[in-house]
Symmetry: C2
Subunit: 255 residues, 2 copies
DNA sequence: AAGTGGTCTAGACCACTTA
DNA sequence: AAGTGGTCTAGACCACTTA
């Protein structure tokens, strides 16, 4: 004889009563949100090993299957990383992640490479209306980071990065910034970049850019406008990258 | 008392004995491959409604849960599309899919739009060594499709598409080609484009391109090199798109 | 009302890692 | 040997669509 016919329906209603309900939110998505909230709140900082699935299922009062669906969803968004036999961990901005998730420039012949930072400057200034809108901030001040980056020994990237001054106190004292800037955001400021959207255009190099990149004025450059967001969707960073695409390209998979 | 302790282990070994085994392939991936094979073979053409999960599970001799994991994997790769309450269908190249999966150009102000084809020419010619290598073909001949496409009434895209002559017999008799060329591949030639990789660069417009796009010679253009693949990974199409990015951009999500 | 995919449970066992 | 995530089953019920 099967036991209680509507255990999960009761659980569903119990969870639903507590949260905002529009129509129907499955249990596993409610669990996913609860776990995401803990990660956002810093209860489980990046790199932390989560409790085992069995323990989490007990804590949350759901079956292991439901708990796994929640973890699967978080893993699909790269919020957590799972290793069979080892455990489940909050995702970190190590070099590998930066290279594969956030760096899309590759050599035509040699594929993906890590860029080397040859110059880096941090300036405090007032943000333009556009910048403050993109960062959704009410304060006036922003940090402006300017970098020159090289691949295969040649400067091919010029970056202009703008972030909220208030969110990154004393950023200028961290100079020279490490090559991996998202690791800095994460470790020094508790800010996790979770995803980004990019808009690509072709533009002409002005005299300054031409001098930096060692090309002629008016040469075509790939312009990449990136808006990066935190785990909760808050915009964190606005970045313009100008890229010389002779021997290099931006790689995009359509699937 | 729980019944047979190793039902699935037996099933696993039975399946394993039949197929190529390197280490360990889970049942659900074996089921996924079997279903993919049927789709590739044309047993289930695009648009077909698959049997219900219950029926498929019975046919394959696995539980509904395992069958669902196989379908989930196929749905993640957009090979099939599922609709709660309606059924599961083999994915089709309708306008929506083309717009969201394979067309990444959007208006800076108005977002995603469908391009309009203003000019389209199909020519038969010998493929270059590079083209034949990219298409992995041994024959000499290719079709070269040249199109001019407009967004918001302005020509901003010039496309040069190269496909295997042998795979698309009498393609020139289909002129004028429909706006959605992947739908043509699918319906007229039984060729399904499943995924594509793109390489983006910034280049200068030559005199012809400048004339077509209504810009000055030397203007920066976004060059998109696409290689599109069939369900089994075979390269199907090599495509060069040159794009005027004034008021438009290429959109890419990093996650 | 019947059929479909979607969720959830409880429990067994496997593959893999670490000690 | 013990612990972790990964697979698989059998079965119940829910949300949604169509007739």
């Amino acid at each position: 004889m099967p036991d209680g016919p509507d255990v999960k329906a009761l659980a569903q209603r119990a969870k639903a009563a507590a949260g905002v309900e529009l129509g129907f939110t499955p249990l596993y998505l409610q669990v996913r949100q609860k776990m995401l909230d803990k990660i956002i709140a810093g209860t489980w900082p990046p790199g932390t090993a989560l409790p085992s699935e069995q323990q989490l299922a007990l804590q949350m009062g759901v079956s292991q299957g439901t708990l796994r669906k929640a973890l699967d969803a978080l893993a699909a968004d790269r919020v957590i990383v799972r290793h069979q036999g080892r455990g489940t961990f909050v995702a970190e901005h190590d070099q590998r992640r930066t290279l594969f998730q956030f760096f899309k420039i590759a050599s035509d012949e040699d594929g993906r490479l890590s860029p080397e930072t040859l110059f880096c400057q941090v300036v405090e200034r007032n943000g333009s209306a556009e910048e403050r809108a993109k960062l959704a901030i009410s304060g006036r001040k922003v940090w402006h980071i300017h970098r020159h980056r090289a691949l295969k020994g040649r400067v091919v990237l010029v970056e202009d990065i703008v972030v909220d001054h208030a969110r990154f106190p004393l950023l200028d004292t961290k100079v020279p910034l490490p090559n991996n800037i998202y690791e800095l955001y994460e470790r020094q400021f508790g800010v996790t970049v979770a995803k980004a959207g990019e808009r690509l255009k072709a533009v002409s190099a002005d005299d300054q850019q031409a001098a930096l990149l060692g090309c002629e004025e008016g040469s075509p450059l790939l312009l990449i406008e990136r808006t990066a967001q935190a785990l909760d969707g808050t915009p964190i960073e606005f970045r313009l990258t100008r890229c010389l695409t002779e021997g290099f390209h931006y790689s995009s998979d359509l699937k």
